[in-house]
């Protein structure tokens, strides 16, 4: 009997408590605010961490009218110096790398098919190293650029003639997310 009374009282107290709570949390506060100075609307920016590395849509790297969309440098037979005609391209990419210190670049050097595959890896490396050096002289940071060689292994043109070989003696600049 006594237990029943306690239980009932307890339940009653709980019900009472429940009933009173909403009244304590005031809709009045809203009215307070409206009455005071208007609060400035603040939105905190979200710092985007992009592990895909893909340049966002609208990136100058993807704009066909922007020189930055051009990525290839061609070489003469057995040569690895960047020819003058490619200076504007190198300068544009160096500027992009300077202005986007988070940007990473992989330079793949290529060689034509003649001769030893491994020696051609060496020739391709010389070409990619020369592009890397040129970019760094123009302010790109060492840790932004890796220069590697694909030797003669990834030809874009497969005829066995000089026209084709000229297309394969090439350095390609790829940005993070593009390889």
């Amino acid at each position: 009997m006594r237990a029943v009374i306690i239980a009932t009282l307890t339940a009653a107290a709980l019900v009472a408590g429940c009933a009173t709570t909403p009244e304590e949390q005031s809709p009045a506060k809203v009215e307070d605010r409206a009455a005071g100075k208007p609060a400035a609307v603040e939105t905190k920016p979200i710092a985007r961490v992009d592990l895909t590395g893909k340049p966002a849509a609208g990136s100058p790297l993807k704009d066909p009218n922007n020189i930055l969309s051009k990525r290839s440098i061609y070489y003469d037979y057995d040569k690895f110096e960047v020819k003058d005609e490619f200076r504007p391209l190198i300068e544009a990419h160096a500027k992009y790398l300077r202005e986007n210190p988070g940007a990473k670049m992989l330079i793949q050097g290529n060689a034509d098919e003649r001769g030893s595959r491994e020696y051609n890896v060496g020739l391709g490396q010389r070409r990619s190293d020369s592009v890397r050096r040129a970019l760094m002289l123009l302010g790109a940071k060492e840790n932004q650029i890796e220069s590697v060689s694909l030797g003669e292994e990834k030809p874009v043109c497969t005829e066995h003639a000089e026209d084709c070989w000229a297309k394969n003696r090439r350095g390609d600049m790829l940005y993070g997310g593009e390889y």
């Binding site: 992989l106 793949q108 003649r114 001769g115 030893s116 595959r117 491994e118 020696y119 890896v121 060496g122 020739l123 391709g124 490396q125 010389r126 190293d129 890796e146 220069s147 590697v148 060689s149 694909l150 030797g151 292994e153 990834k154 066995h160 390889y179």
Partner: protein
């Protein structure tokens, strides 16, 4: 005359062979140049061999003929068919012009396996040169035939045969690159690695269990060591820049590799597990294609430090390089013969890339191929033949040439470009 009664099997060899691959003969071999006078040898069909499927004696004969040193004689069916326990009628075999004779038999064992016994005879001296017995399963016919051919070859030439060795090469089919392992005769091809990115420079570990190679699967060259039995792959060199041109030290503990991590292409030494990197060359040139001499004392390599690519050598611990090739403007890809006396390499000769041999004692150079886009010469472990890649009709093919240049063979694959051959070591 019949005094030499053939005594039964001088010794009995029970061979535990690795599970032989299914024989998918993808490479076929054609002998395109004849050599010196070849020894006529009669290999009589082994009674009972039909039960084994592919003719074991025809594989033995093909092996021996491929060496360029033997000519298999046509033998009409004999009745009664002679076996290794028959009395040999030397006069009769002499009249068939045989200098050597192989007789044998095949029997089914109670456990369902087979037993092949054979004996080799010197018909001129009228003497037995010994014989062997092998037990095998049906899948091991090719491997057994290669062992018989090795036995015959060694007894008759005094040199070890290479018919039981294996070769590695890369086939490009469409946009796929396959690192293939096959018997030395091109049969039993099995892919160890298939990739959508190029694979180059396979190099056998001295024990024949592993291959080092360069794979471009990470959009740059990286050196791997690949265990053939279980397919486990370990990255040995994946430094910033390019990693390429692996070469095993003769004891299998180290690899010489070409790295661009410090700028340019330079040769480094690294432990086979990827630890203990040490730089060996320091030049502003391309230094690449390292290769140890078989005594481990020297590393031969390609360098353009003199203005054109030439072959140099340096002490294996590093040190002052010495120039080795002088004739011509393009000499690359040094490969030492197993006895260390000869250097094979690729030379640009009147617009043609061809295989040259340099006798290291008298400095004589001999060009031993007549093709024009040769690459990657590779000595057989007995030094008699050199396997190479060349281009025929616009397609990559493998070719083999005897080290005297007299015997030439072509290995063609049914579809695809074949390149980057590497002849494996003797397997004990």
């Amino acid at each position: 005359m019949q005094a030499l009664l053939p005594r039964f099997c001088a010794f009995l060899g029970i061979v535990l062979l690795l599970a032989a691959p299914l024989a998918r003969a993808q490479l076929s071999i054609e002998i395109t140049g004849a050599g010196a006078p070849r020894m006529p040898i009669a290999i009589a069909a082994f009674p009972g061999e039909a039960a084994l499927g592919p003719g074991i004696t025809s594989i033995v004969r093909a092996d021996l003929e491929r060496s360029g040193l033997f000519r298999g004689l046509e033998i009409p069916p004999l009745a009664p068919a002679p076996t290794e326990v028959s009395n040999v009628n030397y006069a009769e075999w002499r009249s068939r012009l045989a200098d050597a004779l192989v007789l044998g038999s095949v029997a089914v064992r109670p456990d369902g396996r087979y037993e092949v016994r054979f004996r080799l005879y010197d018909v001129v001296k009228q003497a037995s040169l010994g014989g062997v017995a092998y037990t095998l399963s049906k899948e091991q016919v090719r491997a057994t035939a290669h062992r018989i051919a090795d036995f015959v070859y060694e007894k008759l030439t005094g040199e070890k045969g290479v018919f039981s060795t294996r070769i590695a090469y890369v086939v490009k089919r469409g946009n796929r690159f396959e690192l293939q392992i096959a018997d030395a005769d091109g049969a039993g091809e099995e892919a160890a690695l298939v990739s959508f990115e190029p694979i180059i420079s396979p190099a056998w570990s001295p024990d024949g269990r592993k291959l080092a190679y360069v794979s471009f699967e990470n959009k740059k060259p990286v050196v791997y060591v690949h265990s053939l039995l279980d397919g486990k792959r370990n990255v040995v060199a994946n430094f910033r820049g390019s990693n390429s041109a692996p070469a095993w030290s003769p004891d299998g503990s180290k690899l010489a590799v070409t790295l661009s991590r410090e700028g340019g292409s330079q040769i480094f030494l690294i432990n086979a597990d990827g630890s203990g990197l040490r730089r060996l060359t320091s030049s502003a040139a391309i230094d690449t294609e390292p290769r140890f001499s078989s005594d481990g004392q020297w590393i031969y390599f390609t360098s353009d430090r003199g203005g054109s690519p030439q072959i140099y050598r340096m002490p294996a611990a590093g040190g002052e390089p010495q120039r080795v090739t002088f004739e011509g403007s393009y000499n690359v890809t040094p490969r030492l013969s197993p006895d260390g006396k000869t250097l094979a390499y690729i030379t640009l000769n009147e617009g043609k890339f061809q295989v040259a041999l340099l006798d290291l004692s008298n400095r004589q150079v001999q060009i031993i191929t007549d093709s024009d886009r040769d690459e990657s010469p590779s000595f057989a472990p007995n030094g008699r033949m050199i396997l190479l890649a060349t281009v025929l009709g616009g397609r990559g093919v493998l070719s083999a040439v005897s080290s005297d240049g007299r015997v030439k063979q072509r290995l063609t694959v049914t579809a695809g470009d074949v390149r980057e051959p590497a002849w494996g070591p003797f397997i004990e």
